[in-house]
Amino acid sequence: MVTIFINGEPHDAADPSRNLLSFIRFDAGLTGTKYGCGEGVCGACTVLVDGQPLRSCLSTVGAVAGGSLTTIEGLAPEGALHPVQQAFIDEQAMQCGYCIPGFIMTSVALLNREQSPDRAQIREALSQNMCRCGTYQRILRAFERAASPGDVTHA
């Protein structure tokens, strides 16, 4: 039996080898974290472990035992939005939206690491995630808006 904390709540897992993404989605019931590829290349399953991004589809519950996870549901208190979430809304950075939780978690992780990343760092970080609807231009703008809310002039 291992215990992990997801969005501050303790969750017990009987089997440490349980796939972390499946545990989050089906056992903890937090389906905002998505399955996209199962190979760690699309980023839809990205969660934060102690503030750092992790591809949950390639991990197990045991590998993060004792760790503190944040999923898209836990990014902001109930009823409020994280600045990155708000920026994605403001820039209309979504179509089907399936990839968006992963992009938001990757963005938050980068902002945790770098207060004002340059364009190359942003592109590098965000190119780890895939959006098949092709909203990249808007996602980049949303990131920049969240990173420097005062500097964004376009509507």
């Binding site: 349980r18 796939n19 499946s22 989605r25 089906f26 019931g29 937090l30 389906t31 905002g32 974290t33 998505k34 399955y35 996209g36 590829c37 199962g38 190979e39 290349v41 699309c42 839809a44 999923t71 898209i72 549901e73 990014l75 902001a76 939005l81 979430q85 708000q86 994605f88 809304i89 403001d90 209309q92 979504m94 179509q95 089907c96 939206g97 399936y98 990839c99 968006i100 939780p101 938001i104 592109r123 590098e124 965000l126 190119s127 995630n129 895939m130 959006c131 098949r132 609807c133 092709g134 909203t135 990249y136 231009q137 808007r138 996602i139 980049l140 509507a155």
Partner: protein
């Protein structure tokens, strides 16, 4: 509304369900879907609730095109209510009017118009009720922000909520009702945040992959290892003893493990002992062009004018070339998934399909049920781009749930989703053109060979828009080693690629700038307008032949919308760096400008993948590069800066914005690679052919 047909309190607007499409067999013969009144061909399109808020119902589904917001905008404008007071219910066969399916960019054109009429009918009904209540002539009243007031005395007013009170009022859509003229639009044509945006950024939006119901088992289905593989034997004894396994099912062609978790189901599936018949060697990727040509049948002339013989005689120059596009995968981010649940002889299925009513009919037929005993709910859909019309996992989950007596979930893995879904047909084109020395096209002969058994895919967008007097375009159906299906714009993107590269080749042959050459041969004003806008905004620099700058352009038409796209790129080794794209779209009246731009941007990025690197490889019926580690799609580091100009005329009816963006982009990229390198790229994907 309840099955006895008595609606709950509110103002309900009913109208024809099928919108001119043939209604499905049996649907309206009796109580069919919950939304439909008994023995009536009418469905409820709109309700103003007793609190004054509005619900619109549509059989379309939301799979990224923003239709929920687009429809809400139209309703809010006609009904004079704030956008925030409009809810749109989509894709639930128990709650919405029958619909053929969400494809062909018809949502705004047909359903949007129907909902505008429903909303205008509701507004008129409310005005008449207010005239009665306030004892004023209806002509003196105006509706605004959910209330009706006197134009002369603003103190005499009543809200929609007070007008309706607890009453249940039913009106039929007045199909001749005057719609709000565009000069009076207050919501349409302006930029709005999507009404479903917050659910998407918080993870609350539920997709079919996310549906979990009480007592649900996870199903893993045995898949054929190659196309046409025949199962000879299967030994389930080991799998049955694996942890968490509840049942191993074998029913006709369906073999599946049902377990308490997804991992237990998958682990047991791996331990099924299977024997398959020997694979017959069939074809592989390199055989495709030959297969497309040699197996071509059912020639169909889509366009004919004049006499080709006469045209080629009159021409001073003739150009012949062959073009090729491979199979590509739609590869939406959400792999298909379905959950099925039986309650006695009633079946409920959550399935992220573009055709909830079609799947409803299929399931009713499969199990011998009335259509009203089946309910298909299409929740949020994580992309599809045309390919989620067939939805086999809905059938598998329903069969397994019936056998197990418990709800069952079946979901494709990413690799399964790429292998067992349909692909955009591979196609080959032979084009011969005749032209004069001063740059006039006189003859155009095109033979288009599209793989697959659905000829309408290849016919879309095959006609030439240029002024040549002697034209014949013939499409053929060719054998397909892989299963083909719908893709954004069907075959139009492939047809446009061949045509617009060839046009560029003729321009170079006669020593004219590609924009100038096109303008000389295009009299259609909407084509001319988009081409001129795109070239201007892009900063097109006229040049005859390869200028080495890396600029390229192409035009297109799809679903009634006109588009021109200019690109700027660089080529380094075998990598093409697409820097900048400018698109001018004329889709008539624009309901939701940001939504339209977003769709064009997405189409450009998707089409860029098909132009540069996407191709499904196969051998003897096996797909060799399923999964995102082997099949490259564009990422943010690849994506260009995109500017989209909306240049349509507000008096022209709305046409689709979701598909036209993809039709010219591959040709524009190929033409720009020629402009940069001096070498023509007639085969996709281009990066495989760069040296």
């Amino acid at each position: 509304m309840p099955e006895d047909g008595t609606p709950e309190a509110g103002l309900h607007i009913l109208g024809e369900g099928g919108l001119g499409f043939p209604a499905p067999q049996r649907t309206y013969a009796r109580v069919a879907y919950g939304n439909t009144q008994p023995d009536a061909e009418k469905a409820r399109w709109l309700t103003v609730r007793p609190d004054g808020s509005v619900v619109a119902y549509a059989g379309k589904v939301e799979y990224g095109q923003g239709i929920r917001t687009g429809l809400a905008i139209e309703v809010a404008d006609e009904l004079r209510v704030p956008l925030a007071n409009v809810e749109v219910v989509l894709g639930d066969t128990a709650r919405v009017p029958w619909d053929m399916g969400t494809f062909g960019s018809q949502s705004t054109a047909r359903v949007g118009l129907q909902l505008r009429k429903a909303a205008a009918t509701a507004r008129q009904a409310l005005l008449e009720m207010a005239a009665d209540r306030l004892d004023l002539p209806a002509g003196d009243l105006r509706a605004e922000a959910g209330r009706i007031s006197s134009s002369s005395d603003g103190n005499r007013a009543i809200t929609y909520a007070d007008l309706i009170g607890g009453a249940s009022i039913v009106h039929d859509i007045d199909s001749d009702i005057a719609l709000t003229p565009r000069a009076e639009f207050s919501v349409m044509g302006k930029t709005h945040t999507r009404i479903d945006a917050e659910a998407r950024v918080t993870g609350r939006a539920l997709y079919s992959q996310d549906i979990v119901v009480d007592g649900m088992l996870f199903g893993s289905v045995l898949r054929r290892p190659w196309r046409g593989a025949a199962l000879q034997s299967v030994d389930t004894s080991i799998a049955e003893r694996m942890p968490g396994v509840v049942q191993v099912v074998r029913e006709d062609d369906l073999v599946a493990v049902l377990a308490d978790t997804d991992e237990h189901a998958a682990a047991a599936m791996n331990l099924l002992q299977t024997q398959w018949g020997e694979p017959a060697p069939t074809a592989s990727t390199i055989d495709l062009p030959e297969i497309l040509l040699s197996s071509a049948h059912d020639p169909f002339v889509t366009q004919e004018a004049g006499s080709l013989e006469e045209g080629f005689t009159a021409a001073s120059g003739v150009l012949e070339a062959t073009y090729f596009v491979p199979y590509v995968s739609n590869a939406p981010m959400e792999p298909r998934a379905a959950v099925a649940s039986w309650d006695g002889d009633r079946l409920t299925v959550w399935a992220g399909t573009q055709r909830p009513f079609g799947i409803n009919t299929e399931l009713a037929q499969r199990f011998g049920l009335e259509e009203s005993q089946v309910r298909v709910i299409a929740p949020e859909i994580g992309g599809g781009f045309g390919s989620k019309s067939p939805y086999p996992v809905a059938h598998e989950a329903s069969r397994l749930a019936r056998i197990a007596g418990r709800p069952v979930r079946v979901a494709y893995t990413r690799a399964e989703d790429m292998i067992y879904a349909t692909m955009r047909p591979a196609a080959l084109f032979r084009i011969k053109s005749g032209f004069t020395a001063d740059g006039r096209l006189v003859a155009w002969e095109c033979h288009a060979y599209h793989a697959g058994d659905r000829p309408f895919l290849g016919r879309r967008g095959s006609d030439s828009p240029y002024d040549a007097a002697h034209v014949r375009v013939t499409t053929y159906t060719s054998d397909s080693p892989l299963s083909t299906g719908s893709y954004r714009s069907l075959g139009a993107a492939a047809n446009h690629f061949a045509r617009e590269v060839h046009i560029d080749e003729v321009a170079a042959a006669v020593g004219l700038d590609p924009v100038e050459f096109r303008l000389r041969n295009l009299s259609h004003p909407r084509f001319r307008r988009v081409l001129e806008h795109a070239a201007d905004a892009h900063g097109w620099q006229p040049a005859a032949g390869a200028s080495r700058r890396g600029q390229g352009i192409a035009i297109g038409v799809d679903v009634g919308s006109y588009i021109a796209t200019a690109v700027q790129l660089d080529v380094g080794g075998r990598e093409v760096r697409l820097d900048r794209v400018t698109a001018a779209l004329d889709c008539g009246l624009v309901v939701n400008p940001e939504g339209a731009r977003n769709q064009v941007e997405g189409s450009i990025v998707m089409g860029m993948g098909t132009a540069l690197y996407e191709a499904i490889d196969f051998q003897d019926g096996r797909v060799l590069n399923a999964g995102f580690t082997r099949y490259r799609v564009p990422r943010s580091s690849d994506a260009p800066a995109i500017e989209t100009l909306l240049v349509g005329d507000d008096d022209t009816p709305s046409t689709g914005a979701g598909e036209p963006g993809i039709v010219p982009i591959a040709a524009a990229i190929s033409n720009a690679v020629f402009d940069r390198t001096g070498e023509r790229q007639r085969e996709l994907p281009i990066q495989r052919h760069l040296r």
